[in-house]
Symmetry: C2
Subunit: 324 residues, 2 copies
C-alpha cells in the first residue's frame, strides 16, 4: 500500500507528447477554432491515456472560473425510496454531461445553502421545490450561474399524477374520493400539486372535491384518518406517495377494515415494498431514469443559455395491483 507517484499534470502529458501544455489543453478540451492536425491530436490523446492523465478539477475550476458541480438542495425530510432513486439517476445523467452532482441536506444541522454553494463554487443549484427570491438572490451572489427551481414534481407534472390516481378510482365506480396528505411540512408543496390533480379529476367527473386528510407514518394517525374518511363515506383514497399509502393500509387494518373492500387505496412511486404490501399496492409510477435525464437536459440547456428544447413527456402510468 505505498503511495508514491506524483499527480500527472497536463504539463507531463505535454512533455511526453512533445508539445506545449497549451496544445494539450486544446486537444483535451476539443477547443474549436484552433486547428490541430489529426496526428498531433491522436498523439496527445494517446499519451494522456497511457499516462492515465486526469485533469485536476480544482485547477480547472479555478482557471475556467466555473466548476462542474451541480448542487442539489434536498429538504431535510424523510427521503422516500423514490426521491433517492431520482437523485441517483440525476447524478448519473449529469455525469454523462461531465457534471458532478453533489447533494446538500437543508435543515438545522447543515450550513446555509448559499454558503455551501460558494465554497464548492457550484455551477448550478437546483432543488426539488422552488427557491424563494431571497434565496435565489443569495445563490446568484454566491456564484451560481443557474438556479433552477427544478422541482422533482413540477407543477405541470403534479397534476397528471393526481388525475391518474383519481381517474382510476372513479373508473372503478368510486363516487367519493379521499386524499392522504403527508404530515411532513417539507412535502406539502409537492403534495398540493398532486392534490390539485385529484381535485380536477373529481370536478371533471362531477364529483365533490376530495376529502383531504393529513397523516403521518404512524399507525394511529393513519387509523384516525381512515375514521375520518369513513365518516365522510369516502370509498377510495389517493395517497401522496406509497409510504403514506402503506400507512393508510395499516390504519385500515388497525380498524379491522381492509382494502379495497372498505377503502380502495392508490399510492405513488411504486417503491420496492409496494408490491409486498397486504394487499399489494396499486400505485402510479414513472420512469425515474427518464425523468432524471429530462431534468438533466433542462439544466444543460439553462447552462448553455438555451431554451430547454423539447422536454420529454414524462410518462406516468398506473400499476394495478390489489389495493384499488
Amino acid at each position: 500500500m505505498t503511495r508514491p507517484a506524483k499527480r500527472i499534470t497536463s504539463t507531463d502529458v505535454a512533455r511526453v507528447a512533445g508539445v506545449s501544455q497549451t496544445t494539450v489543453s486544446f486537444v483535451l478540451n476539443d477547443k474549436p477554432g484552433h486547428s490541430i492536425p489529426e496526428a498531433t491530436r491522436l498523439r496527445v490523446l494517446e499519451v494522456a491515456r497511457q499516462l492515465d492523465y486526469r485533469p485536476h478539477a480544482s485547477a480547472r475550476a479555478l482557471a475556467a472560473g466555473r466548476s462542474d458541480i451541480v448542487l442539489l438542495s434536498l429538504p431535510d425530510l424523510p427521503m422516500g425510496g423514490a426521491i433517492t432513486r431520482f437523485v441517483e439517476e440525476m447524478a448519473a445523467a449529469l455525469a454523462d454531461h461531465g457534471l458532478t452532482l453533489v447533494t446538500h441536506l437543508a435543515g438545522a444541522r447543515g450550513r446555509p445553502l448559499a454558503d455551501v454553494c460558494a465554497t464548492v463554487n457550484a455551477l448550478a443549484v437546483i432543488g426539488l421545490t422552488s427557491f424563494d427570491d431571497d434565496t435565489a438572490q443569495a445563490l446568484y451572489r454566491a456564484g451560481a450561474d443557474v438556479v433552477l427551481p427544478t422541482r422533482f414534481s413540477h407543477s405541470a407534472a403534479g397534476l397528471p399524477v393526481g388525475r391518474l390516481q383519481a381517474g382510476h378510482l372513479i373508473a372503478r365506480g368510486h363516487r367519493r374520493i379521499g386524499y392522504a396528505l403527508p404530515a411532513h411540512p417539507g412535502l406539502r408543496e409537492m403534495a398540493a400539486d398532486r392534490l390539485e390533480g385529484v381535485v380536477a379529476a373529481c370536478a371533471d367527473a362531477g364529483l365533490e372535491p376530495p376529502v383531504a386528510v393529513g397523516t403521518s407514518l404512524e399507525v394511529d394517525a393513519a387509523a384516525a384518518a381512515v375514521a375520518q374518511w369513513a365518516g365522510n363515506s369516502v370509498t377510495g383514497v389517493c395517497a401522496f406517495n406509497d409510504e403514506t399509502a402503506l400507512a393508510v393500509l395499516a390504519g385500515l387494518r388497525e380498524q379491522g377494515l381492509s382494502a379495497p373492500g372498505d377503502l380502495a387505496v392508490v399510492g405513488v412511486d411504486d417503491i420496492p415494498v409496494a408490491r409486498l404490501a397486504a394487499p399489494p399496492l396499486t400505485t402510479v409510477s414513472f420512469d425515474l431514469r427518464h425523468a432524471a435525464r429530462g431534468r438533466a437536459e433542462v439544466i444543460m440547456a439553462a447552462l448553455a443559455g438555451r431554451e430547454p428544447g423539447l422536454v420529454h413527456r414524462e410518462e406516468w402510468r398506473l400499476i394495478r395491483r390489489a389495493s384499488a
Copy 2:
C-alpha cells in the same frame, strides 16, 4: 433577478481590513506559529463577516494540494432507507468537520471510481464494503490521502446484528433458524457478516446452523424461500434487512401462512414502513446518526494520521413488534 457582483476574495478582505492577503489567510486558517495580535485578528474576522467572504474551495484545494472532499462510493444497488439515512448523517457529520461528502454510484453507467476520485481531487475515499488491493492502489494513485474500507457494517459490527436477531428468536423458543439472504450481489458481503452472527448465536445455543436462503424482493421468490424453510422445519427467520423481511412476510401471505405463527420474522434497520407492515415487523435498529458520527471520526483520525481513538460502541437494539 440579476445581480452580477463579483466574488469576494481574500484580497478584498485584506484591502478593506488594511492588511495583506497573507495575514487574512493566516487569520482565517488559524495558522499556528504566527503571532497575530488579537486586535488584528478580530478586525479581519469582522471584515470577512461583513463582506460575507467565503473562501473559494477550488483555489484553496489547488493551493493547499488537498481538497475537503470525501468521496463515498456506493454500490449500485437498491439503496434501502437505512443506507440513505446513513449517508445523510455522514454528510452532516463530515460537514461539521469542514469536509464535504460527495457520493458516487458505482456500476456500469458511472465513470470508474479512481477517475472520479482524481477529478474531484478527493481527500479521502470511503466505501461501504472493503476495496480490494488493486482498487485501493488505484485510488492512492489518483491522489487520495486516505482510503478507508469503512464499511457501513464493519465485520466487527455485522456479528452483533445477527446475534441480536437470532438471540431473540432463540429466546422465544425457536430451535431451527432460517436466514434470508438478499438477492443483490452488492449486498452479499454485508449479508455474510450478519449471517455469521446468526451462525454464532445458533452455535452458542447448541442449534444447527441456520438455513440460509436467498430471495429477491419479488413475492414469488420469497414464497419459494418460505417453502424451503417450511421443508426444513424452520420456525423463525432472520432477514438481512427490513425490505427482505417484508418480502418474506409477503411470501408467507402468498402461501396462505402468516407471521409469527407459521414463521417468525426479524428484520434489520427499522425503516419507516416496518411498523406499517402486516404484522408490524420486529426488527433490529441502531442510531444511525451516532454511527455516522463515529465513522466521521474515524475518517478524521485517519486524515490526521492518528489512531481512531475510542470508537463509540454502536448500540443495536431489538425492536419488538408483532412479527416475531
